[in-house]
């Protein structure tokens, strides 16, 4: 497996050719009345052609904002992108591109699938119009050719009767069908990069299975790279090659999917995996991450996970942890346990984690912390 982190190309220099998307120290802030929200706070990763990257995190961890920043879909202001941030896509730095050039890339070379297919499709145009518009714009083809392309892409995503469906409006379709239309639209220009933001969250399990299998098949067929944003570790396990785990705008862990999900190194990831209900834990309590995600206006001073972390010690309150290398091939985790200072505590933590995974962990009954209000 290839490493997740880029080969540390010097600032301002393009990454090696094989790397399709290289995000370096991405910071996106929102200025609101109450202060500044650091939605994305120094995220770096890279993605090779044809590979799949999963971004995992709870709501509010900044995973969608990361995607929107890469697509340059955020309104500035209120959003602000740190001038030092760089996003290299296919050999170009795209954060500094003028809007008209960005428009040529967006939808054409990189496309996005949104979470809610009903709200992201225009209700007053037929799905054919919406797909054909994009094709006509980017591929400079005539109306007829664009329309044919729309039918073709609907066929590609397995919609029966595409000739009839293409003339229908979004409300005439079911949720799974609409998500297929979203995918068809994203694929219509044969993009090199596909960003799917929670593509199956709004769908039922059986439909989710359909859509995931479809994404997998299509990615293999078209050899495009895929960024899959989700909060569902199960979806990640089945779909992606590499994973980054985000918490309050920071990457807390990254590595290949086997590394991150089988041998997690950051306490947050460990907690997430422990809290998944399973048969083995029946009859016992689930181990839960205590407390809630901190308010972005009031983040803990050093380690942002420290108030909820079962393994924290005084160093976690004073020194902000870096992404420490904890293994081969770009494996990183943001935790002091992987520094020389914390190394002594790691075996015990690992042992606790193993036990919690196997049986569920006993925690105090009333483990809710007072509100973040």
């Amino acid at each position: 497996m290839t490493e997740v982190i880029s080969a540390d190309a010097p600032r301002g220099a393009p990454p090696e050719r094989d790397i399709l998307l290289d995000v370096r120290n991405l910071k996106t802030y929102f200025k609101v009345l109450d202060g500044v929200v650091p939605a994305v706070d120094g995220v770096s990763f890279s993605l090779r052609r044809g590979q799949t990257l999963g971004i995992v995190g709870e709501s509010g961890s900044g995973k969608s904002v990361t995607a929107m920043t890469i697509m340059r879909l955020l309104d500035i202001p209120p959003a602000q992108i740190d001038p030092a941030s760089e996003v290299w896509f296919d050999g170009r730095e795209i954060l500094g591109l003028p809007m008209d050039q960005m428009r040529r890339i967006r939808g054409n070379e990189m496309a996005m699938i949104f979470q809610e297919p009903l709200t992201s499709l225009n209700p007053v145009f037929t799905v054919g119009d919406q797909i054909a518009e994009q094709v006509a714009l980017h591929k400079k083809v005539g109306k007829k050719a664009a329309w044919d392309r729309a039918i073709e892409s609907l066929t590609l995503v397995g919609i029966p009767n595409p000739e009839r469906r293409v003339k229908q409006y979004p409300h005439e379709m079911s949720g799974g069908m609409r998500q297929r239309v979203m995918i068809a639209m994203a694929l219509s220009c044969e993009p090199k990069l596909l960003i799917a933001d929670e593509p199956t969250t709004a769908l039922d399990v059986t439909i989710q299975a359909q859509i995931l299998e479809l994404l997998k098949t299509i990615q293999q067929r078209t050899d495009s790279a895929l960024v899959l944003i989700t909060h569902d570790l199960g979806v990640v396990a089945e779909m992606v090659d590499n994973v980054i785990v985000m918490y309050t705008g920071e990457v807390v862990e990254q590595g290949t999917v086997e590394e991150v999900l089988v041998e997690p190194r950051a306490p947050y990831t460990m907690g997430l995996l422990e809290s998944i209900p399973s048969v083995e834990k029946r009859g016992g309590r689930l181990s839960a991450i205590k407390g809630v995600v901190p308010s972005p206006f009031n983040l803990p001073p050093a380690c942002r996970f420290e108030p909820r972390c079962p393994y924290h010690w005084e160093r976690c309150r004073t020194v902000p942890p870096e992404l420490y290398l904890s293994g081969p091939s770009g494996r990183r985790a943001r935790c002091h346990l992987h520094t020389p200072e914390g190394a002594g505590r790691w075996p015990a933590a690992l042992e606790a984690h193993r036990r919690a995974l196997a049986t569920g962990r006993e925690l105090p009954v009333h483990d809710a912390t007072p509100g973040d209000a």
Binding site: E58, S59, L156, V157, G158, P160, N161, S174, G175, G176, M177, R180, D204, V205, T206, I207, Q208, A209, Q210, E213, L214, K216, T217, I218, H231, L233, G234, A237, E238, V257, E258, L261, V262, L272, L273, S275, I276, P277, S278, V279, R282, G283, R285, L286, S287, A288, I289, K290, V292, E362, L363, P364, V365, H366, D367, A368, P370, G371, D372, A373
Partner: protein, 616 residues
């Protein structure tokens, strides 16, 4: 079609039935009678104020003059009381009032429209006083009929009061033999109102006669007081010593299958043939153009102390099942027996003591808490409805409930927006718990929450179940949560249960092709166990037009594998016991054909891209 009682469940033991929900005609009659009462009171009040404040001569005389209105008002107060107890005299009383209204309307209209008749009546009547009284009584009560309108549209009440006053004045002047234009106008208005409201009232009363004349039902009828006495009043919940006494792992309290089989344990809730159909209204006249078969004949038992889960995709009717079971929406057909009391179409007033014992936790913690109410009111509302009128007492119980769910007592003054999603769901739990229920319907309580919060709430629910001896009906679409959380599971598809059994049976040995597909669709968070899935074709068909025969046959992989046998499309399979375990039942003609190798072969041959080829 209905006669097949082949659900393999014992008939529920019934202690008593509740009184039936009053029919619509009765409810309307009740509203009108209370309207009459309200209007008379308002009129009298106005008359008093006007005559005393403005020293209107004869004002007090007028109060005396309209004495028949007082009688009508008293009757209007008494009759609805009689309805409560299903007394025949209440029906008769209503008829009398309705009769007075209509006759009054006719007489008044006649008097108003035919000027010549006025003198004739005054002179020709043997008892002018009586006729005047009848007329004025009719006027008062007739105008009171406008009260029924007024209750519907409060803004109209002031307007309605003034014609009444003029009507009453008119009636008074009738006795003295003079008449003017105002009077005629007022009377015609009244007459029209009688036609609009008096006639439907009479018609409704006549039609709902059976409500009073119904013979004893199959079971002894219990009043709310009797139930209250039998089930005991409602105890306070005490915050359990928050010690968390670690090692006492909650024994998941499923009565052993043997106990169920021999009937040693009576089910807490029995559902038999429950149906809920919603009409699809269309056209200008809002006529019924179709039916949504949301829940279409469901049978199961929930035993005390167990977690019974209902799983299925959205639109399969699991939420409707929960709501119908609690009688939050009246069922179309079928029975629900809760702790021996039959709840089919019962009077909401009589339901109250049972309502307390069956609570619900809603799915959306953002939508189910009123943003304008502080937490104390949100939780206290149920207590108030159950008769805890003492503010201090209510606050104490609210605080207790908050503490039990792990929130601080002083949060009760805060509003819902001040809480995070997980805390809101805790408030939802506290609201259910404040009434110390026995049975809680948990309608997707964790699906709106993040993974880490989800496990907190699940832990809380398990703790409460252990501490307060609760029984849960757990509705969810998340199969991994259900596997962890429940004792027994029912899988629903398009309004019917397709498979039911204990967790172990269902997950290890699924006997319905839909269950197999559902289980196969769960993504597992372990890349080492990555596998191919069995992907179902197309979408769930519309519950307004369920497929013939087996409802699953349009998407069924097993049917395809067996070469599309005819029986699947023609005959609805019964929920029959599977070999090995009598309590594991599945509704499939070919349940025995399911095996691991069959599934594996199907997975290999399926074409993923084509799976959207749904039957449209």
């Amino acid at each position: 079609m209905s006669a097949t009682v082949d659900h393999g469940l014992a008939a529920p033991k019934i202690k008593g039935a509740l009184r039936q929900r009053p029919p619509r005609g009765i409810l309307r009659a009740r509203a009108i009678l209370y309207g009459i009462l309200a209007l008379v009171l308002v009129t009298v009040g106005l008359l008093l104020v006007v005559s005393v404040l403005f020293r209107v001569k004869g004002g007090v005389d007028l109060l005396v003059e309209i004495w028949p209105a007082y009688i009508v008002a008293a009757l209007a107060y008494i009759a609805p009381r009689g309805y409560r107890d299903r007394k025949l005299w209440a029906f008769g009383l209503s008829l009398v009032i309705g009769f007075v209204l209509v006759v009054g309307a006719v007489v008044m209209s006649y008097l108003a429209l035919v000027p010549g008749a006025m003198g004739g009546t005054a002179a020709g009547s043997a008892a002018p006083g009586a006729s005047g009284a009848a007329a004025s009584g009719a006027a008062a009560s007739g105008a009171a009929a406008t009260g029924a309108v007024a209750t519907a549209a409060p803004a109209g009440s002031a307007a309605a009061a003034s014609p009444l006053a003029s009507g009453a004045t008119g009636a008074a002047t009738t006795a003295s033999g003079t008449i003017d234009g105002n009077l005629a106008f007022g009377l015609i208005t009244l007459a029209l109102l009688f036609l609009a409201f008096g006639v439907p009232l009479l018609w409704g009363l006549i039609r709902e006669r059976s409500f009073f004349l119904a013979a004893e039902t199959r079971h002894p009828i219990k009043t709310a007081q009797e139930i209250e006495a039998e089930t005991g009043g409602f105890a306070e919940i005490t915050p359990v010593s928050a010690s968390g006494s670690g090692d006492t792992a909650p024994a998941l309290g499923l009565p052993s299958p043997v106990a169920i089989a021999t009937g040693a344990v009576d089910p807490l809730v029995s559902v038999r043939g429950l149906k809920k159909h919603f009409p699809i209204l269309g056209g200008i006249l809002r006529r019924r153009v179709g039916t949504i078969y949301a829940v279409d004949g469901v049978d199961f038992d929930v035993y005390p102390g167990e977690v019974f889960s209902v799983v299925g995709e959205s639109g399969c009717g699991k939420t409707t099942l929960g709501r119908t079971l609690l009688q939050l929406t009246p069922p179309t057909d079928g029975h629900v027996v809760f702790d021996g009391y039959e709840l089919a179409d019962v009077d909401p007033d009589d339901m109250r003591p049972l309502r307390r014992r069956m609570q619900i936790i809603f799915q959306d913690p953002f939508g189910s808490l009123n943003p304008r109410m502080p937490v104390s009111d949100i939780i206290g509302e149920g207590l108030l409805a159950q008769g805890v009128t003492n503010r201090k007492e209510r606050d104490k119980r609210t605080g207790d409930a908050l503490e039990v769910v792990g929130l601080r007592r002083d949060y009760s003054r805060r509003y819902p927006h001040e809480f995070s999603g997980g805390q809101r769901q805790r408030i939802g739990v506290a609201r259910a718990l404040a009434l110390s229920p026995d049975f809680i319907v948990c309608d997707e309580p964790v699906s709106a929450l993040d993974v880490s919060i989800q496990s907190q709430v699940l832990n809380l629910l398990l703790d409460l179940k252990r501490d307060f001896n609760l029984t849960y009906l757990f509705i969810s679409h998340n199969l991994s949560v259900v596997e962890y959380f429940s004792d027994r599971i029912a899988v629903m598809y398009l309004g019917k249960i397709v498979e039911i059994g204990t967790v172990d049976e269902l997950y290890r040995n699924p006997r319905h092709p839909y269950t197999v597909a559902l289980l196969s669709a769960i993504p597992i968070a372990d890349p080492r166990r990555r596998r191919s899935r069995l992907v179902l074709k197309g979408d769930v068909p519309s519950p307004a037009a369920p497929p013939s025969g087996c409802r699953f046959h349009t998407r069924c992989w097993l049917r395809e594998r067996l070469g599309n046998p005819e029986i699947c499309a023609t005959e609805d399979p019964a929920l029959r016991p599977m070999t090995g375990d009598a309590h594991h039942r599945a509704a499939c003609h070919f349940a025995e054909q399911i095996s691991e190798s069959a599934v594996a072969e199907t997975v290999e041959t399926q074409d993923v891209v084509e799976t959207a080829a749904a039957v449209e």
